[in-house]
């Protein structure tokens, strides 16, 4: 997992498998930044994620729910096709904003087109 913080935006480049084994540490890694550093925008780059199940999806939806009342946002980018299918079936793609490339949403945030 690679972590970058830029202008109060947390960018996490995830890899491997998002299941019950990895869910808790991912959740903690994000929540620490939200709770202690006041991060309100989280970009999750899933390019190198090989597997996701409901435990992994739950972490992503959980961060969305946590940030929502704080006026924060979660963006998901670079999702491999087979992972996207699972997220679509789970209804996540209707709730969370997806971008094909991390650079696109970072540019949008920089320009102030989204926040």
């Amino acid at each position: 997992m690679e972590k970058v913080i830029e202008r109060q935006t947390l960018i996490l480049r995830l890899n491997g498998e998002l299941d019950m084994k990895t869910a808790d540490s991912l959740k903690q890694a994000i929540d620490t930044e939200i709770d202690r550093k006041g991060i309100r925008t989280v970009i999750l780059n899933l390019q190198d994620v090989q597997f996701i199940d409901s435990s992994g999806l739950g972490v992503i939806l959980g961060r969305y729910k946590k940030l929502y009342p704080l006026n924060g946002k979660v963006y998901v980018t670079n999702v491999p096709a087979h992972i996207y299918k699972i997220m679509e079936l789970a209804g996540l793609t209707k709730i969370i904003s997806f971008y094909p490339e991390e650079s696109i949403i970072r540019e949008e945030l920089r320009k102030g087109n989204v926040r």
Binding site: D19, M20, H82
Partner: protein, 145 residues
């Protein structure tokens, strides 16, 4: 006629969920299933095994999860069994978005149902839960997609 059968019993710890997935992926490849179908089998097994560990054994690592695979000419049967706390209302537990854990979305059974051709859950409170899933092979499935 059974052409192959395998069994794996393992401790109820998160590390073993990935091992269960590796086994089903190997069998799927051996059966010449598509990469897409193998992905779906991995998700279904991951959900069933995670349920056994999280709900059946309430994350207590000192228990055993049983995974059995039975391969016949036209079907792959996957049985995931625990001897844990059981489910008092199976029908309710299988509803989408039913979850006792807010972080898990209650999607486990939805995925198992979507990705497998048959799903059967038998559970006795304080005795355990057996999840039986069948995937039809050779594209003879009436619900194949």
């Amino acid at each position: 006629m059974k052409t192959n059968q395998l069994g794996l019993s393992f401790s109820s710890i998160p590390e073993n969920v990935g091992i269960a997935r590796m086994l089903i992926a190997s069998i799927g490849a051996q059966l010449d299933l598509s990469l897409n179908e193998i992905e779906e089998l991995k998700v279904a097994v991951s959900e069933a095994v995670s349920n056994a560990i999280i709900h059946g054994y309430r994350k207590n690592p000192g228990n055993i999860v049983f995974l059995e695979l039975e391969i016949e000419n036209d079907s792959l049967k996957i049985i995931v069994r625990d001897e844990g706390c059981g489910i008092s209302n199976v029908e309710e537990a299988m509803q989408p978005a039913f979850s006792t854990d807010p972080e898990r979305m209650g999607l486990g059974f939805v995925f198992m149902q979507s990705f497998m051709d048959e799903l059967n859950v038998e559970s006795v409170v304080d005795e355990g839960t057996t999840v039986t899933m069948v995937k039809y092979l050779n594209h003879i499935s009436p619900s194949s997609h």
